[in-house]
Every structure is written in C-alpha cells, then in structure tokens.
Symmetry: C2
C-alpha cells in the first residue's frame, strides 16, 4: 500500500504567522518521506477540499517554502465555512471522502481556531463513519488566543506585540502634546469574546502611571460612570489618558458597547464600532479633545512586527502535527506547553480535538487588576515571553517582501460539486 | 560679548523622527562651541518660552542624546499655539524677548510645520522690531509633507512607510479570506488638506491589479457613483477591494465626507470620521462585507517602522539649522533638496521663512492617475526613496526601548506670565 498523501487546510481569520505553520508542515512532510506521500494545500480552506481545488506543494523549492513562512495572510486562501452536522446532511462529508479517495489523501492538517477545530473534529470522525482511513490533526491558530488546553495560540503573540508596541508609541505622541491638544486616546483592538489582545496593550507600560491608563476587557462589565471618572482622574494626574479597548467591551446585561450607538436621521444604525461610542461619551461628559485608532486587520497581519517566539510556535505546530500523524495520531490538536516562566521554556504537546472544539478560553480573572482596568503581574509573566524577539521579513525598496508562492493546481479527477 | 545661548522649540503634531532633529541640533551646538553658548529646550513648545520653562540640554550625555533621537513623540512637549499678530497684541512678544534676554538667548530653532513656520517668521522679525539681537531658524517637520520649497518634510517618510507597509500587509489578509468573508477593506489615513500620505499607500502594490485598488485624495473631488462602481469592479475582478482613504476626502463643493454622517436619535452628530461613512455607503449600495482600520496617531508615532532616509533628513535638518545660525542666518527654514532620483541623492539647503509660512503644498496633479484613484510613475519616483531603509530602535523584552531624557529645569529669573 502506498504511503498516504496529505492535505493542509487553512481556516478562519489569517494571522501574521499562519504561513510559518504551513512552512513547518511542508518541511516536516519532506523529512517524513516515505511515510507520507504527496502534500497538497487546499485552495480557500475547506472549500478547496469540497471543490477539489488542490495545490501541489511539492513544486515549491526549499527557498520558496522559507519565503512562504515570512508572508502574512493566508497564502493558499482560507474560508469561514461550517460543515453541517453529519446527522443533518451527509452530502458534504461524502464529497470530502470522494475527493480524499480520488487523491489518495489519508492525512489532513487543519490549521485554525475554535470553529475550525470543530470542523477538524468532524473530519477526524469521518474515517470511522464512512470506512475510509483518515487521520485529522488540528494545528492551532488564532490571534484571539482563546483555544483551551494550549498555553497560547500561534498568531496571538504577534498581535499582542503589535498592540503593545502601538500603544507605547501612540502614548508618547499623546503625552507630548496633551497640554494644548488631544488629552484622551483610544486604541480599539480585536477580541470580541476574550480580552487577551487588550491585555497585551498593558505591556506598553510598567503600570505606575504609565500608559495605558485604562484597559477595557469583555470580561469586566462596563460601567460608564466609573469609566468616565477614571478618565477624568487620569487626565488630572498625568495630563492625558490612553485607553486600550477590546471590541468586545460590554455592559453587565451583555450588550456590546459597539452596538449602543444610536441610529442616524435616516434610521441607519450608527456604524463605527466601539471607539467612537467611547469618544462620544467622553466628549459629552468631560469635554476632552480625543482621538482614536482602530487597528482592525493591521494587528493580525503586521508580519513586520511579528514576535520571534510566536513565529517559532507557529512553525513548531506544523512540524509536530506531521510527526503526530506519522505516528498514527488522529483527532488531536497540537498544543504549546509552557514548561518554565523565567527563562521561558516550552515544548509542543497534544490535546484531543473534542476537548478544544467550540470551547473558548477567557482571560483568567487573576490576570485583571481588582479595579478591572489593568493587568496584574501574573498577566505580565504570562504575556511577556509571547511577544519576545524580533523576526523581520526581508525588506526591499523600504517595504517588506512578501512573495506569493506559485504552486500548480492538481488535476481534477471528479465532477464538479454544487 | 559672550556667545549667544540657543533655544530649541518643538511645535505642532509630533512625528516618529522629530527627536532626531533635536539630536541633530544638540550635537551640532556642541560641535559649534564656543560660537554658541548653552542650548535650552522649551517645555511644551512656545508655551515653555512664554512661561520660562526651559530645560538644560547640556546635562545630557552623548549616549542620552543618541537615545533621544530614537524616541517618537515630542520628548520635550510640543504645543498647538498661535501667537497673536504683533499689530494686534504685543504682550506675548515683549514677554518672549524678556525671557530670551534673561537667559541670554540669541538663537531660536523652531521645529514644526506650516503654522509653526508662521510663528518662526514672527520670531525672526522680533529682533528688529524690539531691538534685540535674535536669529530664528525654522526646522521642517510634518507628516503631512505640505511645506513648500523643501522636497519633503522630515516625519513624512516614516508615516509614508507605515501606511505603505500596513496597506500591503492588510491587503494580504483580505485577499486570503475574500471568498467567504470581508471583500472591502478601508484604511483611513491622515492628510486633511493634501493627499501625500494617502499617495504613499500606493507604494504597497505595483499597480496592475495589486492593492490598493482605490486611493481617495483630498485633491480629487469625490463622486459616490463612480467610486462605488470602481469598488464593484474591483471585487468582481480581484474578489476584493482595498481602499486607502485620506481623511480629507471631500465632495466637489468642498464638504468633507467625514462630516457627511447624519445625526443620531438624540441629535448628536455622528462621530467616526471618513471610514465608517464609506463603509456605510458600500454596505447600502453593494452589500459587501467590509472592515476598516483607522491609523490615526499610530502612523505618525511608529518609530519601529521609521524610514532610515527620513531619520537622516530629520537629523540633518537639525545640524544644518545650527550651522546656518552660526553663519549669521535668520528668518530661514532648512530645506531638503533632492539632487538625484536614481540613485537618490539629496542635500540640505534653505528657504526664506516668508516663502514657506502659511503656505501648503498640494500633491501635484501629475502624481495622480487620470482616473483619480491611483498614483503615477512620477509619484513612485518621488515617494520611493523617502521610505527607503530600516532603522529599528533597540528592543528589550520584545518592545522598543524609548528612553525619557532627564534634563534639569533652568532656574527662573522672571515673574510668572499670565
């Protein structure tokens, strides 16, 4: 029996280091041969598997694979797409097995976050259900850092570094002109359900009077009066106030602040997310001149500011996933296990997919200061190693070089799927 | 007669490299001695001169001065403050001369943009008016790049690099997930009156189908229908559309788009700037899923991504200003003069302050493509050298180290001013 071919799938929102995991997978498969046959990459995530749009990674030179690992965003395309429950609709599952069978695919490496691990779990159960030999290994990836069991998620460390650096830099800008100009600056960051990224903003200062003066976490119910009083105090004491606000900041009843805006004259719901809502609140209550930035996709694509630690995690996750599959593993997700804080040490390990799929890890309450507006020493101990180390991509003409990887499409062997 | 003391003043919005100009001034004054006496820095810009809040730069070690040059934001504090016309109110002018006389200050280095050069011009005329020997030299600084005569303004190259890199990175993020998720991404950048920073976003791609697909300039009247059709075409052709939008984008009648939002249910004017207005327009007309980022202060404080060329310009501006003053110059601004495009060569030169104060340099129409949505080869030739070269600050613990410079206050010799 020939060795099984393998398929690598990117899923969900991209990160600055997702392709370092792809690099890890490709390099490990090449080393694992002949235990593994060909390695394909799915075009546009699970959609590529359904529509038989496969790319042949074997065509890439070692140099191209290295360059791949330096490119942010999803190099092969990703998708937000949830398979139906097997019990409700089997069609997609039969199609996937048809595609896997047609291309001799017996190993799937599924690179994603919470929702993606649910898909990975479904795939891992497919072999048994449909009597086809299939192993599926989850490779963690999410800037939200909310996968359980693993100490951290590849992609988070770089987003954390971006937010910490941006907060530090913008705070210096505001501090220098607060006397006659902007007194309050808000940086809106990602994290709809968990405050990990917002917490990373806390690394910008050492705590005592340093910016950020206020962090808003989804985990801490927002109280307008207390918040505004804190802004006032900060401006009074330091001449300015820097706020890092998670997009998931919400009231005690669960309503997101970002949904609290009114409707305009035409009945259109006010767009613009959280930062403008906070800014308007501050304007009306305190009258301070304010500015805000919204990091949005910049925080998860800023490969120029990637954390070297995060990059190593991402690459190792890919490598370890291949090693696990070669040893016969299935229905497991690679995890990053912290083995020491100072100096920071870590290794890769594994967790059953059914322990990680569809579960979210909140920021521990012990990482948030008693007043709810800052991070504790425990949070710093956790976060600091994850932003450690610089890993610049090559630059040319003043800009980072992000090569597109040019892979041939694998010839289709099946009729189209619709 | 003892050599005149000198005063260095930061003015207007900070940049990522403003303190490199301070470094240039301090180092040049130390070399110019004994032709120059002490060098003071004003606390909070011109306010420090009015209120006799002066810092003694001589206390800084050479090492501290180097570190100063690596710190974004205004290290001594800056101010947005316009002096009254001499004809309308002489009080502030007499006070300034009192402060200068009390501290033996005969040279002022005024580091700022358009408005600040107006203040510098007023100061330069003061000596003659009030019969006090005073030289004032303007040192250019503005991310807006809109000072006339000079080929470019220190601060701009780094903001341009930030916007070009961010556009390139976010575009890769969007491209990879456009099939099932966000199709339109908007990056809102600074430049209320001129599209220089927005133009820099164009460096992210080479033009042919690359992001950004649309740039909105203040110089090109906004036409909603044409814009929306262009967004639709881009999504149809490339699956996605990346837009770099200057905050100064406006309709033919001069109204800013950012002011076009409605009022909410309480009659509050809608906050949130340009990006949400464009997003809402796209949502309603085309229904595409969209995201936007607002760079705000991040783009002018991102010292971690400073352009090495910009940094050299900034430092040279400070040095040259001191040399000009030592040679007896007054009422002049240092300029950056381009002497070659390929390879890029430059030197410092000078322009009379009355030729630069209160004048704005627009983006030349020849830098904008005929359709109004992109940049031409001429723009690339101009912009490219300005973003060239990386100049990372030192990093510690994963974050850039930005040292505060600790300077003693100069003892006051005058009563308070109010």
């Amino acid at each position: 029996m020939p060795a099984p071919n393998a398929l690598y799938v990117q899923s969900g929102g991209p990160t600055a280091v997702i392709n370092a995991t792809a690099q890890g997978v490709i390099e490990a498969v090449r080393r694992a041969r002949p235990a593994v046959g060909k390695l394909y990459a799915a075009r546009n995530g699970i959609l590529g598997a359904l529509h038989e749009q496969l790319l042949d990674t074997d065509a890439a030179s070692a140099q191209a694979v290295t360059a791949l690992g330096q490119r942010p965003g999803s190099a092969f395309g990703t998708a937000r797409y949830k398979l139906a429950r097997f019990e409700d609709d089997e069609r997609e599952y039969h199609r996937l097995i048809d595609v896997f069978r047609a291309h001799g695919i017996g190993m799937v490496f599924f690179n994603g976050g919470n929702d993606s691990m649910d898909t990975a779990l479904k795939l891992s159960e497919l072999g048994r259900r449909l009597n086809y030999p299939l192993q599926c290994i989850g490779l963690p990836k999410t800037v939200d850092n909310d996968l359980p069991v693993t100490d951290c998620c590849p992609g988070f460390g770089s987003a954390a570094k971006y937010v910490a650096v941006s907060t530090r830099e913008a705070a210096l800008d505001v501090a220098g002109m607060a006397r006659t100009s902007t007194k309050v600056f808000i940086l809106e960051v990602m994290g709809r359900h968990a405050g990990w990224i917002a917490a990373a903003g806390g690394l910008a200062g050492s705590g005592a009077g340093d910016a950020p003066h206020i962090i808003l976490f989804p985990e801490v119910p927002f109280e307008a009066d207390r918040f505004l009083e804190r802004v006032r105090q900060s401006v009074q004491r330091h001449e300015y106030c820097v706020i890092v606000a998670s997009e998931g900041a919400r009231y005690a009843d669960g309503r997101f602040l970002s949904e609290a805006g009114g409707a305009d004259a035409f009945g259109h719901k006010q767009l613009g997310g959280l930062a403008p809502v906070l800014a308007q609140m501050i304007q009306e209550s305190l009258g301070y001149k304010h500015h805000y930035a919204i990091s949005d996709y910049l925080q998860r694509s800023a490969r120029h500011l990637a954390s070297a630690t995060d990059l190593e995690h991402a690459c190792a996750a890919g490598r370890t996933g291949v090693e696990m599959a070669v040893e016969g593993g299935n229905a497991m997700m690679v995890t990053i296990k912290r083995t020491g804080d100072d100096p920071y040490t870590w290794e890769t390990s594994a967790a059953p997919l059914d322990r990680v799929a569809n579960r979210e890890k909140e920021l521990p309450r012990g990482f948030i200061t008693d007043d709810g507006y800052g991070i504790t020493a425990a949070a710093r101990t956790y976060l600091q190693p994850l932003v450690e180390g610089e890993a610049l991509p090559p630059f040319r003409g003043g800009l980072p070089v992000y090569e597109e990887i040019d892979l041939p499409s694998v010839e289709k062997r099946l009729p189209a799927f619709d």
